[in-house]
Symmetry: D4
Subunit: 210 residues, 8 copies
Amino acid sequence: MAEAVYGPGKSPDQCVANVAELLSEGTAPVLLTRVSEEQATAVLEALPGGRKVGRTIVWRAAPPRPELAVVVLSAGTADRPVAEECLTVLGAHGVCAEHLADVGVAGLHRLLAVLDRLENLDAVVVVAGMEGALASVVGGLVAVPVVAVPTSVGYGAAFEGVTALLAMLASCAAGVSVVGIDNGYGAACAVLRLLQTVTRRRDPADGATP
Amino acid sequence: MAEAVYGPGKSPDQCVANVAELLSEGTAPVLLTRVSEEQATAVLEALPGGRKVGRTIVWRAAPPRPELAVVVLSAGTADRPVAEECLTVLGAHGVCAEHLADVGVAGLHRLLAVLDRLENLDAVVVVAGMEGALASVVGGLVAVPVVAVPTSVGYGAAFEGVTALLAMLASCAAGVSVVGIDNGYGAACAVLRLLQTVTRRRDPADGATP
Amino acid sequence: MAEAVYGPGKSPDQCVANVAELLSEGTAPVLLTRVSEEQATAVLEALPGGRKVGRTIVWRAAPPRPELAVVVLSAGTADRPVAEECLTVLGAHGVCAEHLADVGVAGLHRLLAVLDRLENLDAVVVVAGMEGALASVVGGLVAVPVVAVPTSVGYGAAFEGVTALLAMLASCAAGVSVVGIDNGYGAACAVLRLLQTVTRRRDPADGATP
Amino acid sequence: MAEAVYGPGKSPDQCVANVAELLSEGTAPVLLTRVSEEQATAVLEALPGGRKVGRTIVWRAAPPRPELAVVVLSAGTADRPVAEECLTVLGAHGVCAEHLADVGVAGLHRLLAVLDRLENLDAVVVVAGMEGALASVVGGLVAVPVVAVPTSVGYGAAFEGVTALLAMLASCAAGVSVVGIDNGYGAACAVLRLLQTVTRRRDPADGATP
Amino acid sequence: MAEAVYGPGKSPDQCVANVAELLSEGTAPVLLTRVSEEQATAVLEALPGGRKVGRTIVWRAAPPRPELAVVVLSAGTADRPVAEECLTVLGAHGVCAEHLADVGVAGLHRLLAVLDRLENLDAVVVVAGMEGALASVVGGLVAVPVVAVPTSVGYGAAFEGVTALLAMLASCAAGVSVVGIDNGYGAACAVLRLLQTVTRRRDPADGATP
Amino acid sequence: MAEAVYGPGKSPDQCVANVAELLSEGTAPVLLTRVSEEQATAVLEALPGGRKVGRTIVWRAAPPRPELAVVVLSAGTADRPVAEECLTVLGAHGVCAEHLADVGVAGLHRLLAVLDRLENLDAVVVVAGMEGALASVVGGLVAVPVVAVPTSVGYGAAFEGVTALLAMLASCAAGVSVVGIDNGYGAACAVLRLLQTVTRRRDPADGATP
Amino acid sequence: MAEAVYGPGKSPDQCVANVAELLSEGTAPVLLTRVSEEQATAVLEALPGGRKVGRTIVWRAAPPRPELAVVVLSAGTADRPVAEECLTVLGAHGVCAEHLADVGVAGLHRLLAVLDRLENLDAVVVVAGMEGALASVVGGLVAVPVVAVPTSVGYGAAFEGVTALLAMLASCAAGVSVVGIDNGYGAACAVLRLLQTVTRRRDPADGATP
Amino acid sequence: MAEAVYGPGKSPDQCVANVAELLSEGTAPVLLTRVSEEQATAVLEALPGGRKVGRTIVWRAAPPRPELAVVVLSAGTADRPVAEECLTVLGAHGVCAEHLADVGVAGLHRLLAVLDRLENLDAVVVVAGMEGALASVVGGLVAVPVVAVPTSVGYGAAFEGVTALLAMLASCAAGVSVVGIDNGYGAACAVLRLLQTVTRRRDPADGATP
């Protein structure tokens, strides 16, 4: 799995140093997440080959791998950056997930309109703030793994993502699992762990496969 | 509006005395809510004419009034007592609401199967514990007032109803309003306040009507 | 009902794009809420016809409709912006609510002086921060729907509106319902849901009316 | 000031021993608070002269002292035991406070009906659960010290007194001070501290008096 | 997937009725979780064929399926009931997981002694209370999906599982996902969702497999 | 009692308008609290006669009144601004309190060195952040009213004053009463309420005095 | 160090089995903490040689070791059981600590009266509930390690020990360290860790000693 | 022990004055912690002899003392500043602790690689954010005092250090003690208290030594 550097709280120089160290070892993808403009400028200049998507920079992205069919759903416009962090991290490992945006449950018809896109999947990531209800609805619609990411989107009683976090943990749809607030990176990693299992199973050299 | 006595923490004798006092004044319905078996036995014997439904006892229920078309939705089996408290309080005032039970969002097809029952209503009450997502979904489906009641149903991260409470307050469906945890009585009162408005408007003697 | 775009966290360009999309569909009012000065300048220039009130911009406001008699009460000076957001959203839909400001309960005489303005209403919105006690007092004074909006006004133990939120939910006045902190928009939507009910009832073509 | 033993968590024998020790010293009143039936029986038998009021037992109550004119207001029926603890502790020190019960703000007329009893006082204690709004209203009506006691009365979002506690601390009426949840004893002590000041001032031997 | 009835809060008769209804439909496993002794006696007598393991009863358990190699780790003795709920629910669906108990991180050598059992797995469930550190350590040791279950085990600052819950969500091991407190059932369901993916992939009739 | 305007969140113009309005009525002191530099400059220029002390501005301060002997204790250097707000508000009403600063309990000898200054007082205000222990110690040393003000001073587990607030409310010294976090103004008002009582008692025209 | 079994939540048989297993290994002390009466009876009968002190049972207590001079201070009567758990665990390892009880800060003279007992110590344990102020005062009086144990003693705003916990963590006395709520066992273990250091230093065979 | 001034919230002039006062008394080390660039410039110019390390400035550092063998472990890069504050404060008192950085438990091999550095120590400080699991693992590996410092490092559910704080308090490793969030200074002081004990024991003039 890729090594990742978390940007916030680091100086541009520290970012360069941290990423450079990771690039000097092995050939796995390297990620720098939540970069500021200032960090991005410094790092991209010092360490060529990086590709910036949203607030994530990727070096040595893996070639596309068709093993996993993954969909990332996001509830509202403001949830998109978190969904995109997830998509970028997945993409850096060769997993080309589809993004279904703006399918929050207050406009249920929009979700119902894409129900067919939720078939034949290997995993679903649900990104939602406010009350996070999308995770429960999707958890009831699909039987495969659902990773829920609460976001800090919302005001009033959304409490910076705590409400969505609690709601996803208390979901009435059994077997939904949850990562930390705004943690698109963590959700991607949870899916990539799944990729480990699926890949190993497909490999005839793996004696554990029945 | 009815006067109500809240049972918990009162001795059977105190319940009898409180209800008797209310019965001695006027002709409005009188309610005793959340009664224990012991309280119920004492009160029903001492003050004839009461009718017990679930944990609520009603005296001098109002005759049925057709002014309001109301539906109470509840998400799971364990949410029913709260929904029933709401229905009983509404019924004591003559409002015969319909109860659509077990329509939690994890089984979305069950909710979709009763969508036609959500048409031509005056108000909807949504009773749900766990993550309380039902309020958001229903709030997106109907344009009339939605009163959401979080329940203390759920375990783990449901935190005795706090999760559902926060989720309902942070609902992505605009204009959903919320009452306290397990407060079926309060939800009924919120609907009865609406009845005041609708009734006054129909009464030609009310000069404020345009 | 109007479609609304929530400003915070969006670039001026995103605001323009979001509002433009809504204006391209149908004829309903369109709202942009909590705009910054920078967003407002960009949007008003790009999309003529918008009218800015406080931090809300309205396009295609509905003509005045006399169906609802609504009063918005606010407790202190600092609660006014939330009350005004509510009033502007109501006004965008043709509901001309009256604003009774600075009637917090610590100066009870000011509230008592306007008691007659609380008669013959269809709904009341109460906007209060600090301990939010105004909702309980008003809830005891009127029989019609009361929508309470806690505000983040206050210091010390007001905890950014949490205290007022909890106090309103625990109100000793039965049937008060609550929306999220500072959510003047949500309170207006709750009232507009009521407008749906009242309007439908007045329309002889509606078979559900008794 | 009296010495007090707090009953909960102590065996009847420990209560007897603790009270006996206090009675063996000096002549001040001795109090045992929040006694269970079992504790009360044991203690009253072992240590004659005690008088039980509610869940408080008093030995060596002081003779009535007319120095302080105090009123204790309580909001609802369920708040009475806390108010009574306060009254009993005051009485044990000779302060005969008046109790105005059931004057919660949801029935504002009941409070307005006793406004004249709030004149010419030295201190007011306000006991209220749920949203604790009574403290704010009373704080605006009187200029003398107001000690607010939040109670654990209420359900749903009252959170065992936390809501009332926060609301009283965030009161819009300046200078209201607060003691702990259900702490009728503490409120009485706060008033008795005031008695110290008033008494000292009346005593010509006290050189500090102007 | 199995249908499950949650025992707490239901009368024995309600348990019987709920389970009987599920048994009357289809052929999937049926579960009754967190049963009391009283409920268990009633249900096992009324509905033969149930097998009780810990506090879970299973009817129509699926035959063993070798598709998934799963290990459930639990930290302390008191975490076992939650781990066993997870194991029983997995077993009801034919997944025979291995249980590695008492491998909490304060005795790191015990965990290190079973490191070889963590190889060639498809998924790992980590059950831990107190500070829940086991999830982070295991998450760093294996690359496959890790489902973390916080338990309410612990005292003092464990806060009924909240501490473990937060710690697991904030885990420094990327991609660990979390279910609700004590939710062994939910963790099993999360693993069973994975089974869906693995099974579908092995089935040549599934056109989505590459 | 003085009327006060709370500065934060108001524009300089709003401050000027609010204060001007209060100055136009009666002759009581007028206060503007928590002013910024910008607000202060504007207000002092527009409304002559104001005197700025710390972040408080006072107009029409009352002449010194010797009725009350008050001491304000503060624990650490960082607690001083809150103590000074209290002292300034008291001073505006003619109460010249003494300030004993830097007497936090970690250096108990400093507090013990000023014990004689705690004799013959009418009231004590204790201002402390961090763990707020000073209130308990002082509450045990004096018998007169103690008003405790938690401050937001401290880091780590001080949680912006919440820790001190809770500690003061749970004080083992009976009868300590508490105002909101950083609320030096509120503490002063609590003392001024006491002044009402003491003054009224000294006035022979007051029939309530024994 | 001793091995300990935590009693709550275990059946008497489980307690016997757990303790028996520990007794079958090595010769270190074995502890069973927080036993119920029922557990104690079963365990003492099945496993002779145990000595019960308070709610702790000790087998194979170590002989007295004079290396450490330790004092345990407790604030109030109700804090004693926690202090005694600490003392018993220390005693099981041969550390004979002195207990200074009832020295809470509200009666500062009692603490001042034993100041000489705080000299020439190696470590101090402070056990206090309510606002936990004793830890700060003692932390300022001694220069050696202070381990603070918050207890769940107190009512109202003590919040089951959370207030004391936060207060101790935010202590204005630098270098006070804290263990979990009611965790007398943990405090003893913290002191025993210190014993390791002191003992090793005294042993000439230890090459690390300077 | 050194006297320390805490920088945040003080003007550069106040810092100079506070430090100057401490320098004018005695000869102990003087510390200024958490300085800003602006404060540092002013203070270093006004008060020569200070040495700045990270955000701490030290005057009159003590000569190295070999009495204590201490290791400070930190989990991640972002935890370093807190560890360095601890190291600097220790160094100012002559304790030259070793720093083992980046040994967080998600990469357990890095911690296992330095296990030999944890032998023959007198005390260990563990600095960790996120879920703080390092404290539990280290607590199980060493028998000497472990002081745990939670840091505010982390995002999502780390909640500014609260998660790590709770996790460390609930640690399954007995006898770990905890200081406040980010409180590297406090951890150093806890270790320095230990130095008092060790030093006193080594001094033959101390009659308390056995």
